[in-house]
């Protein structure tokens, strides 16, 4: 299910969702300042560190994701940030639409996530850096 099919699903979800976007001010440092990291993602254009709050993520319980966006190139513009999650193996997303707010320069907080099934979820961070789309995903198993 990984590979092309998963990308297609993510693309479909991206197309369907409209909320949870924001224009960013890049973070000066990509550090998890408010607790241990849940995950760190790298891309040629950006690094991203994120943490779930509360941690660990529990099936059926709402949570938030706080994350830092750190472009590799100083001064790069970052916008259209969006957070979503899906279960590619089950071919469904969340029943809830997170809303994104900027907590500090380069730091964002997505509220209102809820994973309603055990198994492997895929968190999606999407943004545009200097006009180019960037998509970062991470698989997270919850029981």
């Amino acid at each position: 299910m990984k590979g092309g099919a998963a990308v297609a699903i993510v693309a479909a979800i991206v197309g369907a969702a409209v909320a949870g976007t924001a224009r960013a001010q890049p973070s000066p440092v990509c550090a998890a300042a408010s607790g241990p990291e849940t995950g760190r993602l790298t891309h040629p254009r950006v690094q991203l560190a994120w943490r779930a709050q509360p941690e660990p993520i529990v099936v059926g319980r709402p949570f938030a994701i706080e994350f830092d966006v750190c472009p590799v190139t100083a001064g790069a513009s970052v916008d259209r940030i969006r957070v979503d999650a899906s279960m590619p193996a089950h071919r469904h997303g969340m029943n809830y639409q997170p809303r994104l707010a900027q907590a500090a320069p380069g730091r964002f907080r997505a509220e209102g996530l809820l994973w309603h099934m055990p198994g492997t979820w895929q968190v999606l961070f999407e943004m545009r850096i200097d006009g180019e789309p960037v998509r970062l995903t991470q698989d997270v198993a919850v029981r």
């Binding site: 059926g60 029943n95 099934m117 055990p118």
Partner: protein, 458 residues
């Protein structure tokens, strides 16, 4: 009934993937994790007499502990207050609230039937479109009704009061009834600190619904033999020893293993409640009547977001609105059409018939539905969860044996036993909560004691 060696579990899991891959051709089946017998042993899951792997045990333990500790509903200032429980108890059986004076909440939510009515579809003043849901353990839910059209238990209670097909009341009628009947007025004053006549009718209606919620919160299903078995496993007892100590039947153990294994039933029927509290399309018909579809969850989302009594509104007593996070973020999509809530499986033996429209008479019918699932009835762009289980007759019997244990009262000493509380008024001793396995919690007893200070009903 010994622990299965991990090596065999791994081999079984690999075999299952192969089995599903073969079965998936031409359907929308997906690869799955889990354990099952190798292909050559399909249908002989009971050959190992309930043999449970460590993975099985881990999955089973996640269905407890039970009961779940009571936490007051922050959106309802009456939650957990004995006077409010007493008022709600009295309102629950009061036919004077209904426009016709002929029906009460207890007319459709009968204790001896797990607070359902035994009908395919409910009947209030008129016939309804959906099966009457059980009220047992309702305090643990977040969405109420088959469509989740209410986001709190108290807002859910307003719906049948006002629905012209159910009780057909309005706020003025409810307020007048509460003010005019001495017992209700006395209990209202005790519960809310002021006489009902001092508040506007809309406020009295919502308060009455909050008192009803406080009462319904006391309707806990009792501990079962499943809980005894589960707790023994959680203590680390070997499955055979745990089953013996709990009196847990061997066929139920095999059915349970199928439930958390090949059946993957616990993806949706999860946790102590055996429900994830969310909504799914399982391929059941969604026509309320010829030419009139039931939109299910799609209609429920629209209803709750438009409801002035939702948790984002002024009637919620949770100033922080922390209880409203689901309401704030719930999103409607077209796939929600025809989705209905995943019901709890506790107390299932008493709540026939089944499904949102009561279209399946017995649990055997329900299992046949999942066994012979018509995948063409599922949303083509929906989730890829369900595949026909192709249960053998023996597997069906074993699953039924397991489900029965979710309704069989615990016999363990010291467990929360079935109570002896009775509903007041016309419902009568035959409907005592004790006969249906509802736990007589301290909150129930406190509610009764509080109610003794006020006049009894008409």
């Amino acid at each position: 009934m010994a622990h299965r060696p991990p090596a065999r579990a791994a081999a079984s899991a690999a075999a299952l993937v192969v089995l599903l891959a073969g079965a998936a051709a031409g359907s929308f089946a997906i690869g799955a994790s889990g354990t099952a017998d190798p292909p050559g042993m399909a249908g002989t899951i009971g050959a190992h007499d309930g043999d449970l792997t460590a993975e099985d045990v881990d999955a089973i333990v996640r269905h407890g502990p039970w009961p779940v500790a009571f936490e007051p509903d922050r959106s309802n200032r009456a939650s957990g207050r004995p006077a409010a429980v007493a008022l709600g108890r009295r309102l629950f059986v009061d036919t004077g609230l209904a426009r016709t004076g002929t029906v009460s909440c207890a007319s459709c939510h009968r204790p001896e039937l797990g607070f359902t009515d035994g009908r395919a579809r409910g009947v209030g003043i008129e016939g309804l479109d959906r099966n009457t849901p059980s009220l047992l353990d309702a305090r643990l839910q977040h969405w109420f009704g088959w469509d989740g059209g209410s986001d709190s238990l108290w807002a859910f209670n307003v719906r049948p009061l006002l629905d012209p097909r159910e009780m057909g009341a309005d706020a003025v009628r409810v307020a007048r009834r509460v003010a005019a009947e001495p017992g209700l007025a006395c209990l209202y004053r005790e519960a809310f600190g002021a006489p009902p006549g001092a508040a506007p009718a809309d406020r009295v209606l919502v308060d009455a619904a909050k008192a009803l919620a406080a009462f319904v919160e006391t309707l806990d299903s009792g501990r079962t033999v499943f809980d005894d078995f589960r707790d023994a496993l959680a203590r680390g007892e070997p499955p055979a020893q745990a089953a013996s100590a709990a009196g847990y039947p061997a066929d139920a153990t095999r059915g349970l293993r199928l439930f958390v294994g090949r059946g993957r039933c616990n993806l949706c029927h999860l946790g102590p409640q055996f429900s994830n509290g969310e909504f799914h399309d399982i391929g059941r018909p969604f026509m309320a009547a010829p030419g009139r579809p039931d939109p299910g969850r799609l209609g429920g989302i629209r209803a709750v977001l438009a409801d002035p009594l939702n948790l984002l509104g002024a009637h919620s007593d949770d100033a922080s609105r922390a209880t409203a996070v689901r309401t704030r973020h719930v999103a409607a999509t077209h796939r929600n059409f025809g989705e209905f809530k995943v019901p709890t499986l506790r107390g299932l033996s008493r709540t026939a018939p089944y499904m949102h429209d009561g279209s399946l008479s017995t649990l055997r019918d329900v299992l046949r539905h999942y066994s012979e699932l018509d995948v063409d009835r599922l949303h083509s762009d929906g989730e890829a969860l369900l595949v026909p289980l192709r249960l053998t007759p023996r597997e069906t019997d074993e699953l039924l044996a397991f489900l029965a244990t979710l309704s069989t009262p615990s016999t363990a000493r010291g467990s929360v036993a079935a109570g002896s509380a009775e509903l007041p008024g016309t419902v009568g001793a035959a409907d005592s909560l004790g006969t249906v396995g509802a736990a007589d919690s301290p909150r129930t007893a406190a509610g009764r004691a509080s109610g003794e200070a006020c006049p009894t009903g008409p």
